[in-house]
Amino acid sequence: MSQPVHFHAAADFADRSLAAVNDAGLRRNFRSAMDYLQTKRRAQFTDDGELELLRDLGQAIRRHALANLPDLLEQLEARLTANGVVVHWAETPAAANAVVLEIAARTDAKRFVKGKSMVSEEVGLNHALEAAGIEALETDMGEYIVQLAGEAPSHIIMPAIHKTRQQIGELFAARLPGVAYTENVDALISIGREVLRRKFAEADIGISGVNFAVAETGTLFLVENEGNGRMCTTVPRIHIAITGIEKVVAKLEHVAALNSLLPRSATGQAVETYQNFITGPRQADELDGPDEVHLILLDNGRSQAYADLQLRATLQCIRCGACMNHCPVYARIGGHAYGTTYPGPIGAIISPHLLGLDAAYPLVFASTLCHACVEVCPVRIPITDILIRLRNEAQARPGSADATLRGSGAGRKTLVSTIWRAWSLVYSRLRLYRLTSWFMSRGRALSPIEQGAWTRSRTPLVPAPKRLRDLIKERGK
């Protein structure tokens, strides 16, 4: 079973989003899932004052971490090393995969179990392992489902949210030997657990993500609801954690504050079922735990965002997914249409750094700028301001002061920029505006019935017979 390599395909956004809006079943799945998640989140934050205070705190903690990023990363590495964790730095996805493959080769590991990790999706780790003849089984139930279906996650928290329980029942019956169709959710989970439980015991290496890496203590903090994360990080003899360089925080107490926002914003849970604080391999006097613990710290374009004081806020993200849960565009097209590892509003602002603006620029236009994401973001990322900035970058004249990112200017189209120049000319020259708007109202009978994309779905816009400025003038007489 192979997952498609999907994260370089942002250019096909228009086709995929069209297919998605015309898929009634998909639309229904996402609508009901988003409604459910929005309601659950709202129920968690009944006190607006508390929420706003927490968001201020979350923002301050993340901004503090990013303002001290180089120092904190050094401190993290030193602490982790002292705790017996091997730290690896990876600039690219290929480098991250190479680290994993080297460890596998050295230890003759053939079987991997994986906890949920979006960074492992980002680097395409499963493909790299598969190519090396290594089985890597996803153990998060949602991830397991999309892996079984040969798909990619459609949501960063709930990877299989695009599927109904009926579809999952059909999938299990088709792919798992001896399993009969059922749409009973508890039964489906038991079936999945049965398969996974055996694999934990057999695995050589466990892979996990990291929610926050604490610099002062060298602690990897990992949350989950199924216990599979704890299994992946304790049962196999080697644990490899992989995360982005931005996930560091200065102090252990910062985890408490951020985690009072994370599950409530993400799934509307007061707290996760499992919170793992990982501080190193098994010590001599301990019964459980792996012999080796590794942490891979991935850059993959994040340093470009870090270097720009406005775009740095992108890295404040704690990956709760609330922005996509509240996005009117995401609710209509789902996660796969974006074609990137990270979909929705956060995907649109982080992907240009991971993939280059030339590959990702269509996504920065896939927003109505309604601010729903900004309103719910637990760490107050100014997502819409960043989207506007990336739109500027995407259409900047190459070589101009506005073109500062990898792939800037790739979205510039001569016709479109000519239209905007003309628009600007009309609306910034009063005489020209007066003349143009006068002609539009006097010639209203001649207004086109076909107004391009507007009239594909709507009746035409027709100018009023007299402009407001004409009515005011007449009234003054």
């Binding site: 809006v21 309604c370 601010h371 905007w420 600007s424 539009m440 709507r458 816009l461 009023a464 005011i472």
Partner: protein
């Protein structure tokens, strides 16, 4: 009245004079909404000044990623309001542009930035101004009716003026404001988004039209013409497709609705 975080502001006492920035959409497509705005303000004993040099706030280019083109247009508006009077804008979206985004647009040009920041402090969305500054309190003299309120995303999340729009309607004795599903969700307009992503925009606005109709009314009011044109244009097209003999959803700017309900001229 509670405001979204960061949107609270101190309101001036009722002034003798205000400027009207009417927006390009009202000037060209909905001038009656502009006239009703003037009438509402004048009835409060306020003299309304309409600087003839106004064109557009520049938001279409700003949100489309053409900052230079947006600056050229916005720059023209900055000199139109020399007196220290409030500037009333009958659109939450355009008001948010002038109040919150002008300072960002001119961040690298200190002399102009000072001007933009000064102006930003004086920008008020119409319903915000009527409630918080003018103390609007006129009895409803219309026949009983139902209406749905659509508040634009920028009114709701950047100006906090969804609450003042709702308060004005709530004070109309014979008007029942209906509950609608997902009232806080975008209508799918998004300026040039409607043109750039017509299919997604259509999907969103179709849902918006459905939830408005499901709310049990045939009339929607809004303080934003952009959303209104999008919603009503889609509703009218759906009526055409269905062969409906009469419109199933009608709407108007909240200024016109308020003016008519509170004793303004019959339409």
């Amino acid at each position: 009245m509670e405001h979204p975080h960061g949107l609270s502001r101190i309101y001036p006492v009722k002034p003798a004079d205000v400027y009207l920035f009417a927006t390009c959409l009202i000037d060209q497509f909905a001038p009656e909404a502009g006239m009703d705005t003037i009438r509402l303000l004048e009835r409060e004993g306020i003299t309304v000044h309409f600087p003839e040099g106004q064109t557009c706030c520049g938001q279409p280019a700003y949100t489309s990623g053409y900052p230079e083109e947006a600056r050229a247009v916005a720059r023209l508006q900055l000199d139109l309001f020399p007196q220290p009077w409030p500037v009333v804008v009958p659109s939450g979206s355009c008001a948010a542009m002038m109040r919150h985004h002008y300072p960002k647009l001119f961040a690298d040009d200190p002399p102009v930035l000072a001007k933009a920041e000064e102006l930003a402090q004086r920008i008020f969305e119409l319903t915000e101004f009527l409630v918080q500054v003018a103390g609007f309190a006129h009895p409803d003299s219309g026949e009983p009716c139902t209406v749905a309120l659509h508040t634009s995303c920028h009114a709701r999340r950047e100006m906090g003026s969804h609450e003042t729009s709702a308060a004005l309607l709530a004070n109309l004795e014979h008007v029942a404001v209906v509950e609608q599903a997902r009232i806080e969700e975008c209508c799918g307009f998004g300026g040039t988004f409607a043109i750039r992503h017509p299919d997604i925009s259509e999907a969103i606005v179709t849902d918006k039209v459905a939830s408005l109709k499901d709310s049990g009314t045939r009339r929607v009011v809004s303080a934003d013409c952009g959303c209104l044109f999008n919603i009503l244009g889609r509703a009218a097209r759906l009526d055409e497709i269905a062969g409906s003999p009469a419109p199933t959803l009608e709407g108007e700017h909240i200024a016109s609705f308020l003016w008519r309900r509170t004793g303004g001229a019959e339409q």
